[in-house]
């Protein structure tokens, strides 16, 4: 179920009045959980088994930790279970493909089977046939559960935080399951921490008129970002990146520029909508994006982009690796490792690994520079922003390309294929530039101009009327759903 569809509207209009009635009662968590499972099961009810499994194991692991002094095995169980799920469904084929490619390269007569097929479909079929049951389980090989990377990380953070003593034990399974599957942020974040979200689920929310107004504001802005901007930009990006060999430098550059904005509008639009819905339910979800393209350095960029994920990696990967406590070299190694792993989190492809590696390299190269007085005080902010945006854009080439070969080809063609009319609609360029300008003004001393009441009302009215008048198709999935 997508936020920007009529089905979701019907779902929410059914859910919300009941929620308002039961929010102060013991029925709140069961109602939230039921709604969240309907929301998630809408894609494929089979996915529910996975989320239920992950939830149950983590809940029991924490209960077991609370009951014993030997916490480590239970933490290990939780981590192995969560990473195992992620590894099996998301990375199994990637590993097998790479192992098989290596075997082929060295002329080894071995080839591994797709784990999803051999363990699930084939395995289940073998069991059924041994039981003389004439049912054929369909091929599971393409079953990548929506949002698995998000809810697995969210659930795992609870067990780790409990192990560290940073979060209280949650005794109610229903409430814990609600924390893992809360529908606004279930499939694409923000990845919430138990210490932030669970207490909100434990107490009855007070939903004021301001909460509803704020929620609506967030939702409208997010919806506009998704349907009016991201999906529009996708119309330019998709054909270029599907056949980059047919395009020349200006089109490839513009498609990369467009993708930078597409993914920002798409993902931050989703987050805004999720936070808006949460707000209307009396649940505050964390800020996930903070004008990332106004960042003045890569470190700054990661404090503004997908904040919930970057802080997750900081707290559960970078710091456990040692952070910056063991000297300069170790700090850089930790930084590189964290970023490469975060690249891999996005998808089981070498393009994502390289994307993470580019950010890591950029961060390593610029970290010292950013600390110098000359860079800090003498270089104009806009130049720093332009430089940061250029590196981020370069990295997006790898993120978006369909293969590493395509990515290198795109980069090569950007510098060598000559000029040709990029056929980039002026209307689209105008829309993107006006959003950038808005952000720029908002972060400048002229903020008062764009945040004045009448301007905000005009913006909201303009966005709603524009969407109703101009946007026709609104069923494109969010980019981050595939992670």
């Amino acid at each position: 179920m997508l936020f920007h569809t009529w089905v979701f509207l019907v779902f929410f209009l059914t859910f919300y009045p009941v929620y308002l009635l039961v929010k102060g009662t013991r029925l709140r968590a069961p109602w939230l959980l039921a709604a969240s499972y309907v929301f998630y099961g809408w894609w494929n009810p089979v996915y529910l088994l996975l989320i239920l499994w992950s939830t149950t194991v983590d809940y029991l692991a924490v209960r077991a930790m609370a009951a014993t002094r030997w916490k480590k095995p239970w933490l290990a169980l939780s981590i192995v279970n969560n990473l195992g799920l992620l590894g099996f469904f998301k990375y199994g084929r990637f590993v097998v493909d790479n192992v098989n490619a290596l075997a082929e390269r060295f002329d080894l007569p071995y080839a591994l089977s797709d784990p999803n097929v051999c363990f699930l479909s084939d395995g289940l079929n073998a069991v059924l046939s041994s039981l003389h049951l004439h049912y054929h389980v369909p091929d599971f090989s393409y079953l990548l559960p929506v949002g698995i990377s998000f809810y697995v990380f969210q659930s795992m953070s609870y067990t780790i935080d409990f192990y560290r003593g940073q979060v209280e034990l949650e005794r109610s399974f229903i409430r814990y399951a609600t924390f893992v599957s809360l529908f606004p942020q279930l499939v694409a974040g923000p990845i919430e921490r138990a210490s932030h979200l669970l207490p909100q689920l434990q107490r009855a929310p007070r939903i004021s008129r301001e909460d509803v107004a704020d929620g609506l504001s967030l939702f409208v802005v997010g919806l506009f970002k998704k349907v009016a901007l991201a999906d529009y930009l996708a119309m330019y990006v998709d054909p270029v990146y599907s056949a980059p060999e047919e395009y020349r430098s200006p089109a490839l550059l513009l498609a990369t520029f467009a993708f930078a904005w597409q993914i920002y509008f798409d993902f931050s639009g989703y987050t805004d909508m999720a936070r808006g819905i949460g707000r209307m339910m009396g649940v505050r979800l964390m800020l996930n994006f903070n004008n990332p393209y106004l960042a003045t350095g890569l470190g700054d960029f990661w404090r503004r982009w997908h904040i919930s994920l970057s802080t997750w990696f900081r707290d559960y990967v970078y710091i456990p690796l040692g952070g910056n406590r063991h000297g300069e070299t170790r700090t850089y190694v930790n930084m590189v490792l964290t970023m490469v792993i975060s690249g891999l989190w996005h998808g089981a492809m070498w393009t994502f690994v390289l994307w993470g590696a580019i950010h890591a390299a950029g961060r390593v190269l610029t970290r010292s520079l950013e600390q110098t007085a000359v860079y800090r005080d003498r270089v104009p902010t806009i130049a720093k922003q332009a430089l940061t945006f250029s590196v981020v854009m370069l990295a997006w080439v790898f993120f978006r390309a369909q293969s590493t070969g395509d990515a290198w080809m795109i980069l090569g063609r950007i510098f060598s294929s000559g000029l040709a009319d990029p056929v980039f609609p002026l209307l689209l360029a105008g829309l993107v530039m006006s959003i950038w300008l808005y952000q720029y003004v908002y972060e400048s001393k002229f903020r008062k101009v764009v945040s004045a009441g009448p301007v905000r009302v005009a913006l909201v009215v303009g966005m709603v009327v524009y969407m109703a008048a101009v946007v026709t198709s609104g069923n494109q999935e969010f980019i981050y759903f595939r992670f």
Partner: protein
């Protein structure tokens, strides 16, 4: 990642706890702000389509018909029907047979009826046919957009062609695209060949009741070649979209695209056919045709149904026999219900361009036949 310099032990991991700030940019309205915005949005949704009708001229010349390009523009249909149904008109309702697929607007049935019967402006025959519409869609069109057709004389064409195969009848189990799906029932009746998603169906139902969306469709269809603004901008990357909105609607004489070959069916090399007729009792199209008749009657219209004139010359013996059976059954049903009905006589073979559409000569003859028909005269006379 946010591998910022906060990992020293002096900085707690969750020191910078999840950011509860509202958002990066302050497009945030207070409840009062939302109230004001809500009022402005409602006003915009209400006033823009109304104002548009004032500024966009609708030139309802004699022999006006819905321009071909606006066949899917239901907002325009509602507006046109409201504009033309102001006097003592006789409204012709139906598909491309009424609209005149192979002919100009001054060669249609309504044109010849106006000419033959010397109908003045007040008593003229008005062509409200829509090219490509079928009974299932027509029922939706009349129900949702044809409210203005009330207290009128309505000549409704019954084209049995739509029952000539499960595909035409929309009863084929195979998913098949068909004309005007947005006019088909979305939840109340199962159309076997229609497989829209739940979200698409909900969207269609909302659009029917939300006139602003209809107006937006109108602008798209009339000025942007039915494309949405985004698609159009990719085809015209350096043009100003506002320049497209010329406020000049397409002409009623604009031919269908591709332009149809108006030669007689046999001259074009069309062969005799034996359609896979669907029995009337199980036909979806027939069911909706009857529904349309009843809806028009409920709106105090005096309805006369004209069955045919199908090109019987183009049917094989077997096909013809099956058709005759259905024609008789259809006429019998009307008689049973007390609904005036005229079974159009078969026109000369040379006057058909295909299985169901007459050419200009065919319409002239048909109008002549109608003029002579007692039932038709009675219908006009109001006896």
């Amino acid at each position: 990642m946010a591998t910022s310099e906060q990992s020293n032990t002096s900085h707690s991991v969750i020191q910078d706890a999840p950011d509860d700030r509202f958002a990066a940019n302050d497009v945030r309205l207070s409840p009062r702000g939302w109230l004001l915005a809500g009022v402005l949005i409602v006003l915009a949704f209400w006033l823009i389509p109304l104002a548009w009708q004032k500024i966009e001229p609708l030139d309802l010349e004699a022999d006006y018909r819905i321009p071909y390009r606006l066949g899917n523009d239901y907002w325009n249909y509602r507006r046109t029907s409201r504009e033309v149904c102001r006097g003592d008109e006789t409204v012709l309702v139906g598909d491309s047979v009424i609209w005149g697929h192979y002919v100009d607007s001054h060669e249609t049935l309504s044109h010849y009826l106006n000419a033959d019967l010397n109908a003045g402006d007040e008593h003229r025959f008005v062509n409200l046919g829509v090219d490509g519409i079928h009974p299932v869609a027509l029922a939706g069109l009349i129900e949702c957009y044809g409210n203005a057709i009330s207290n009128k004389r309505v000549l409704l064409n019954c084209n049995l062609l739509w029952m000539s195969s499960p595909r035409h009848d929309l009863t084929s189990d195979k998913e098949t695209p068909f004309n005007h799906p947005a006019l088909a029932p979305q939840f109340t009746v199962n159309i076997p060949c229609y497989r829209a998603t739940l979200s698409e169906r909900l969207g269609i139902v909302v659009a029917r009741h939300f006139r602003f969306l209809g107006w937006a469709d109108h602008v798209r269809i009339a000025y942007f070649g039915s494309d949405d603004l985004a698609t159009w901008s990719f085809e015209h990357p350096y043009e100003n979209p506002l320049d497209q909105v010329t406020l000049s609607l397409p002409s009623a004489d604009e031919p269908p695209s591709p332009e149809p070959d108006a030669r007689a069916w046999d001259e074009k090399g069309l062969r005799k056919v034996n359609p896979e007729w669907v029995p009337l009792e199980s036909s979806l199209q027939w069911r909706f045709f009857r529904q349309t008749v009843q809806r028009l009657q409920q709106r105090d219209n005096r309805v006369l149904v004209m069955i045919g004139p199908l090109n019987e010359h183009m049917l094989t013996e077997e096909g013809l026999a099956a058709y005759q059976q259905r024609k008789v059954a259809a006429a019998a049903w009307h008689k049973e219900q007390g609904i005036p009905c005229v079974v159009a006589e078969v026109l000369p073979s040379r006057t058909y361009a295909d299985l169901s559409h007459p050419n200009a000569e065919g319409y002239a003859i048909l109008a002549e036949q109608m003029k002579e028909n007692r039932g038709f005269r009675k219908f006009l006379g109001g006896d």
